[in-house]
């Protein structure tokens, strides 16, 4: 790995030197380049399509799995299928993400399709970071798809972050929940220039007492455009809460389309959405603390996306 590779890995994971703890699989320009498994975590290359299957044994506790993807060649169109099979009562943290460095004129694109199958009582924290850089005119495009199938009493907490440099993204997240299962999603997006970001979120609450909580916080600046479409379907006694907050600046546009469908009298579904510019009184308060208007704006946005 060269310095560009390590820098991209630093941006999308917690690594300081490109090295990882626990199990990992590093994919670069459409090929797996490094892999490590542990006694409890197996990683197998798929045969029919590009991608990997990750198997976590039942009762595995507190292990980490890193599956970063980096793209440094212009013109790459990488489609990958990663499937996670999480055994009963396991508790693991999975850190995925894609970093694109594009210095040339051809578009670089990564579409990662991640499917999670959690057995009874499994708990997963899934962190996904997206980042783009480089001086070329070629677009940096990421279209992640996340599908989550949660069995009884399982929990998946997903954190998705896209702060910089991705020109176009359509992120699709689907969830199907059994009894007492819980799916918690936190999404943070910031767009600049003429970037476009769309979130499509759909979850079916099929099991009694299943629940989902989705929090989306986004900042759209300059001429960028964002769309947030969410659909929560409550088919039984369940709880769903979607909260979409967006700060809008300059000529940016944000569309929030809520859809909540209750097919059962015991379904309790809430959707909250708020879009607006930074409030003048927030800027003034921080200016009374000695910050310039620009510093105040940065502090408000950093806090909002923290």
């Amino acid at each position: 790995m060269n310095n560009i590779d390590i820098n991209l890995l630093k941006k999308i994971t917690e690594t300081k030197d490109g090295k990882f703890e626990g199990a990992y699989n590093i994919r670069k320009n459409g090929q797996g380049i490094e892999r490590k498994t542990t006694g409890n975590i197996e990683i197998i290359t798929k045969k029919e399509v590009s991608g990997i299957d990750i198997f976590v044994k039942p009762n595995t506790k507190f292990e980490f799995i890193h599956i970063p993807v980096i793209i440094t060649e212009s013109g790459i169109n990488d489609l990958v299928y990663n499937d996670f099979y999480i055994g009963e009562n396991s508790k693991v943290t999975i850190i995925a993400g894609c970093g694109i460095h594009n210095d040339h004129h051809k578009d670089s694109r990564h579409d990662g399709i991640h499917r999670f199958y959690l057995e009874k009582g499994a708990k997963v924290k899934y962190i996904e970071k997206h980042y783009g850089e480089g001086s070329g005119t070629g677009k940096r495009i990421l279209n992640p798809v996340t599908e989550v199938y949660l069995k009884e009493n399982s929990l998946l907490e997903m954190e998705s972050v896209q702060i910089k440099g991705v020109d176009s993204t359509i992120r699709t997240t689907k969830g199907v929940l059994d009894k007492n299962a819980s799916f918690i999603v936190t999404e943070k997006i910031m767009t600049h220039g003429i970037q476009f970001a769309k979130t499509k979120f759909e979850v079916e609450l099929n099991g009694e007492n299943s629940s989902t909580k989705v929090t989306s916080r986004s900042v759209a600046t300059e001429d960028s455009k964002q769309e947030f479409c969410s659909k929560v379907i409550g088919n039984t006694k369940c709880f769903g809460h979607v909260e979409c907050d967006a700060i809008i600046k300059d000529n940016a546009k944000v569309i929030a389309i809520p859809e909540i469908i209750a097919n059962n009298v015991e379904a309790n579904l809430i959707h909250e959405a708020a879009i607006g510019k930074i409030a003048g009184e927030q800027l003034i308060k921080l200016m009374t603390l000695g910050l310039t208007e620009k510093e105040a704006e940065e502090a408000i946005i950093n806090g909002f996306l923290k």
């Binding site: 927030q282 003034i284 308060k285 200016m287 603390l289 806090g303 909002f304």
Partner: protein, 235 residues
């Protein structure tokens, strides 16, 4: 330390402030009072730079600050606690206190300040300043955010506004201890008799003009005979 000369402020053909002249000395506890709509809050905002007067001068420690923006006045040593504190999604109480303090502060120092304004520090220091906080809680956080600055002049715009009676009974103790918390000169806009009682100087504003100014006995002389609301001309 603060001198206002000929301050005028007019909006929609209404004189909100009509030729205000005022001097406030160092390390004094000054209360500006008067009926609703008399121009008190506007005056406080003009001192901080939030509103711009149509004419007049403001001298702070001898320096004319009339053209300085809010943040530069803050750096010179003026702090302002808002009547209706703003809320911030994602920013915690600790984040706000860090932004407020001129010096770097750790959590222990932040907790110390929160305890002084009557909040159980460990319950609040990591809480977001969002709509889950009650009126009384956010008011105390606002006071903490100005107290941590140790400014030469601290202005409080109606600290009692928007607080229920029970919270106010507790908050009043904070103001009675204000000299221990806030260093330097304190300027409070208030209708509350218990706050007026602890003032070194009371300024009564009516219809945009200073009606009376002096020590609390001089201005509040007749309060014992009449309810305060009658004295202030509030119906």
């Amino acid at each position: 330390m603060l001198e206002l000369k000929n301050i005028c402020f007019e909006r929609e053909n209404k004189k909100i402030l009509d030729n205000i002249n005022l001097t406030i000395d160092t390390d004094k506890f000054v209360v500006i009072t008067g009926p609703n709509g008399s121009g008190k809050s506007t005056l406080a905002k003009i001192i901080m730079g939030i509103e711009k007067p149509d004419s007049g001068e403001i001298l702070f420690e001898g320096k004319d600050i009339i053209k300085l923006p809010i943040n530069e006045r803050a750096k010179l040593g003026i702090a302002f606690a808002f009547q209706q504190p703003t809320r911030f999604k994602g920013i915690t109480v600790f984040d706000l206190l860090k932004l407020s303090s001129e010096k770097e502060i750790n959590k222990a120092k932040a907790c110390d300040i929160l305890s002084k304004v009557g909040l159980c520090a460990k319950d609040y220091v990591d809480r977001e300043i969002n709509s889950s906080l009650s009126g009384g809680e956010i008011k105390r956080i606002e006071i903490a955010s100005v107290a941590v600055r140790n400014s030469k002049l601290t202005i409080f715009d109606e600290p009692e506004a928007g607080i229920d009676l029970w919270s106010f009974q507790n908050l009043i103790k904070v103001f009675e201890d204000m000299r221990k918390i806030v260093k330097g000169t304190t300027l409070i806009i208030s209708h509350q008799e218990r706050i007026l009682n602890i003032a070194d100087q009371v300024i009564l504003i009516k219809h945009g003009k200073i009606d009376k100014m002096g020590n609390k006995e001089e201005v509040l002389g007749q309060v014992k005979e009449k309810p305060l609301c009658c004295k202030l001309g509030v119906k």
